[in-house]
């Protein structure tokens, strides 16, 4: 595999669109104003299960400014697809409380909003079931788990191994539903011109939105253009089109004018995805020296009655530690709830909270230092597939982290370190995330003035994608970044995979490198003599990625936390957080550090605050705003640091990268919970670590 010559890759180039963002000039989806536009405000179901009997739109239509009120009774029919969540207004059924069941279109946003409140809906409500429990009678085994992993795995005889193990940890952990809450609420502006649709959308993947939306309206993908130059965060929730996009397009077609639609923060808690709550039982069998003999990890999760989304919660357990006997399972129950979806490190994030908490419990049971315990169980090869790891530097991360954190003198006794009113403790946990890569296309164009344009329908949701692609292109083109313009965020550009699965840089970077290499080759052939129109080369990485050698490719990391727990109040504050990661080559230390720290902070937030509370009586998430759903604020993040160990892995991609968007959140919550145990002697197995759980 050819590798990029490292000149600008590896340097701390400033974010290329930073100037637009600090001056307020960067345009996000809702900030597009096509002529003659109108506003759409969707209406949510007020029952969790049942049928819409009738909708009274008279009062709505009489309201000043109202142009249309659309629901099942008058909505145009969409072409059926395999994503039933997108079949908006195609049925009388209500599958969850808060589901979009109608939309009001008016001349102004406020008119649409007020009119939407006047919509009267008559329901035939049915009893709902919204409570996840491991012993739910409707638990079943899904065919596969997201995105395409086997549901269960088993090696050896774990049951017998657990029975005979000298040391046994058997504990059940739970993580609550959590909502992605990117700062920019989902929004779209939809405009039809005949049979051609333009969507200014807040999305993690313009190509994917185009390919999903077009068939619903019976038009070829080429008729749909999705424009998305700046996206205010996504964390998975903007991975595919949510119902709001379809509603905007449907409404725009219905009224014959461009339609603007923004999901409100409150609505986001029902209609834009979330992390499934999980219940996880982890059983670890070990010898007295801490060497694992058996690992069993069973997860119980929920999905909606509309669509199956099965989170891959126990998949990290398949690769983390050596043990001859092992089993992982996933069970799912379909409840009257919104469909869960991707949220930053789906699977790894909740799964590693359970596994890494259990490892801490095992360390205590065996009286072994938790760093040493992990090192002792380091596998030589992928413990389930048997494949070699392309590279694996968990041990280096643990050792480097322990050194930097000052772990060596740690007294393992819990509940004995006091500083004023605080009990102090430290904890460690491992992190991991798979290395994915998906086919993408790109073009590279040379202009006569010596400048270049690189085009790919990538998305920069705040990751720094535009910046690192500029660096990668500059190096491949043997020029400097200021000579390269990278155009992204538009489905009219060469098709690309979405910004998800920490695979953006790997997927898009490969396509950019190949397109730029082809251009350089062409330029060399012509000896630099360019035609007036410049010269363009393109690349499609489908074949290259299809031919890649089978290896176990994963990033690893270690997180160290120090917490203070107030003995009067149970308030837990994270005093120090250190993450050390082995994630291949780092293209831009400036944007990468921010990604790692941002992930760790979201992990801290998950550890201490985040919880979407299901209201059992009404069947919806109750705390649906940023005052009630707490995310970490500035004062919650004190001393936080992210480092990485150099990795030179030739089996990845031309850049040698592993992806860094998600690994930062993996393991953080366990490190914090383990530190809380060290501080107080109280083991919190159910997130978040709220003060009432520590109040005595």
């Amino acid at each position: 595999m050819t590798t990029v010559d490292m000149r600008y890759t590896g340097s701390a180039l400033d974010r290329v669109e930073g100037l637009e963002k600090v001056t307020g000039r960067a345009r996000y989806a809702f900030e597009n104003f096509p002529a003659d536009l109108v506003y759409a405000v969707p209406v949510q179901a007020a029952i969790a299960r049942g049928e819409i009997r009738a909708v009274d739109v008279d009062a709505v239509l009489e309201h000043p400014g109202v142009i249309a009120a659309i629901w099942y009774g008058n909505a145009p029919r969409l072409v059926p697809s395999d994503n039933a969540d997108l079949a908006v207004f195609q049925s009388r059924r209500v599958a969850y409380r808060g589901q979009y069941i109608a939309v009001v279109v008016a001349e102004t946003y406020e008119e649409a909003k007020e009119a939407a409140r006047l919509l009267r809906v008559e329901y035939a409500a049915e009893d709902h079931d919204v409570r996840l429990r491991a012993d739910h009678p409707n638990m079943y085994r899904p065919e596969k788990v997201n995105p395409n992993y086997p549901t269960d795995t088993e090696h050896g005889d774990p049951d017998t191994a657990l029975t005979v193990a000298p040391v046994l940890v058997d504990a059940t952990y739970s993580t609550p539903a959590e909502h992605n809450n990117p700062m920019e609420p989902h929004a779209t502006v939809a405009e039809w011109d005949g049979d051609a649709l333009t969507l200014y959308d807040s999305t993690q993947g313009a190509s994917g939105v185009r390919d999903t939306v077009a068939p619903l309206f019976g038009v070829p993908p080429a008729n749909v253009r999705v424009i998305s130059p700046h996206v205010g965060g996504g964390f998975g929730s903007k991975g595919g089109p949510s119902p709001y996009v379809i509603i905007a397009a449907l409404a725009a077609r219905h009224v014959g004018r461009p339609v603007k639609l923004a999901v409100t923060r409150q609505q986001m808690f029902a209609v834009t995805g979330y992390r499934t709550p999980t219940i996880q039982r982890v059983r670890l069998g070990a010898n007295a020296d801490g060497r694992l003999t058996a690992i069993v990890h069973d997860a119980f999760e929920q999905s909606s009655t509309i669509t199956e989304f099965a989170e891959q919660t126990t998949t990290p357990t398949r690769i983390m530690y050596a043990a001859p006997h092992r089993r992982t399972t996933h069970r799912l129950v379909r409840l009257d709830v919104p469909t869960p979806s991707w949220m930053r490190a789906p699977g790894e994030c909740p799964g590693m909270f359970a596994l890494e908490s259990a490892m801490d419990e095992l360390a205590i049971a065996c009286q072994i230092d938790p760093v040493e315990l992990r090192i002792r169980n380091e596998p030589d090869a992928d413990p389930e597939s048997g494949l070699p790891f392309s590279s694996r530097n968990l041990v280096a991360c643990l050792r480097e982290g322990a050194r930097r954190f000052g772990w060596a003198d740690r007294d393992p006794a819990p509940g004995v370190r006091r500083r004023d009113r605080l009990l102090i403790g430290t904890g460690v946990a491992a992190s991991t995330y798979p290395v994915y890569r998906r086919p993408s296309q790109a073009t590279a164009q040379a202009h006569r003035d010596g400048r270049f344009t690189v085009r790919i329908a990538a998305a920069d949701i705040g990751t720094g994608a535009r910046t690192v692609l500029t660096q990668i292109a500059a190096d491949t083109l043997r020029t400097s970044p200021d000579q390269v313009l990278v155009e992204i965020g538009d489905s009219a550009l060469p098709a690309a995979s979405l910004a998800g699965g920490s695979m953006g840089t790997a997927s898009w970077g490969t396509a950019v490198v190949r397109a730029c290499e082809a251009l350089v080759e062409g330029l060399d052939r012509r000896d630099g003599d360019l035609p007036a129109a410049g010269m363009e080369s393109s690349a499609d990485t489908t074949e290259e990625i299809g031919a890649q050698r089978r290896l176990s490719r994963h990033a690893f990391g270690a997180q160290f936390a120090e917490v203070g727990v107030d003995t009067d109040t149970g308030e837990t504050r994270v005093l120090r957080l250190l993450g050390v990661f082995a994630a291949g080559r780092i293209i831009n230390p400036k944007t990468a550090r921010s990604q790692f720290i941002g992930g760790m902070t979201m992990g801290l937030s998950m550890a201490l605050f985040e919880e979407s509370i299901m209201d059992l009586e009404f069947g919806d998430y109750l705390n649906r705003d940023l005052a009630q759903y707490h995310v970490a604020a500035c004062a919650d993040v004190r001393d936080i640091e992210a480092l990485w160990v150099e990795e030179d892995d030739p089996h990845l991609n031309p850049m040698g990268t592993k992806g860094i968007g998600e690994i930062g959140i993996v393991g953080t919550a366990a490190a914090v919970a383990n530190a809380v145990h060290h501080a107080t002697g109280v083991r919190i197995r159910d997130l978040p670590i709220r003060l009432d759980k520590l109040m005595r």
């Binding site: 406020e110 923060r265 921010s594 992930g599």
Partner: protein, 155 residues
């Protein structure tokens, strides 16, 4: 109703404003100033922070009528010439990711440094308590404010 106010140094008259519209809505949808962001509409995230008569407020909670006759300054109007030092520091420190919280944070940090030229970390955290960021983990934002403070005092 008609609302007349001064925005970024120039007087603006906006007609047909409905009483229920917020200052944020008027700025974004009627004045062509979408720099201030709408992320919660409840004053819970600070993304819409603008100066109102010299004090930073959440524009989403200001009823349009409350702005009558007053002076508003948004991220678009922080500097007449090039970049304000706070904007520059956000760029240099790498404090920007998705950029959606950025305009509000910059206005809020700008106000802090106007009042407290050399703030302690605790003062920065308190001043920025109402500005949520989901990407950066705040660390680089703190760096940016420290950097802007250092540059201002050096001048």
């Amino acid at each position: 109703m008609r609302v007349t106010f001064t925005v970024n140094g120039s007087q603006q008259t906006v007609d047909d404003v409905w009483e229920g519209e917020s200052l944020l809505y008027v700025l974004r949808e009627r004045c062509g100033l979408p720099g201030s962001k709408n992320a919660c509409e409840q004053g819970e995230c600070g993304s819409c922070t603008v100066y109102l008569d010299g004090s930073p407020v959440c524009a989403c909670l200001v009823a349009a009528g409350q702005a009558e006759g007053r002076t508003v300054r948004t991220v678009e109007g922080l500097s007449d010439t090039g970049l304000d030092p706070v904007q520059e520091a956000f760029l240099d420190a790498g404090a920007v990711q998705c950029g959606f919280c950025t305009p509000g944070l910059i206005v809020q940090a700008h106000d802090l440094l106007e009042r407290v030229p050399d703030p302690e970390d605790a003062e920065i955290r308190e001043a920025l308590a109402g500005n949520l960021c989901r990407c950066t983990g705040y660390e680089k934002i703190l760096d940016a404010v420290r950097l802007a403070a250092a540059r201002r005092t050096a001048k």
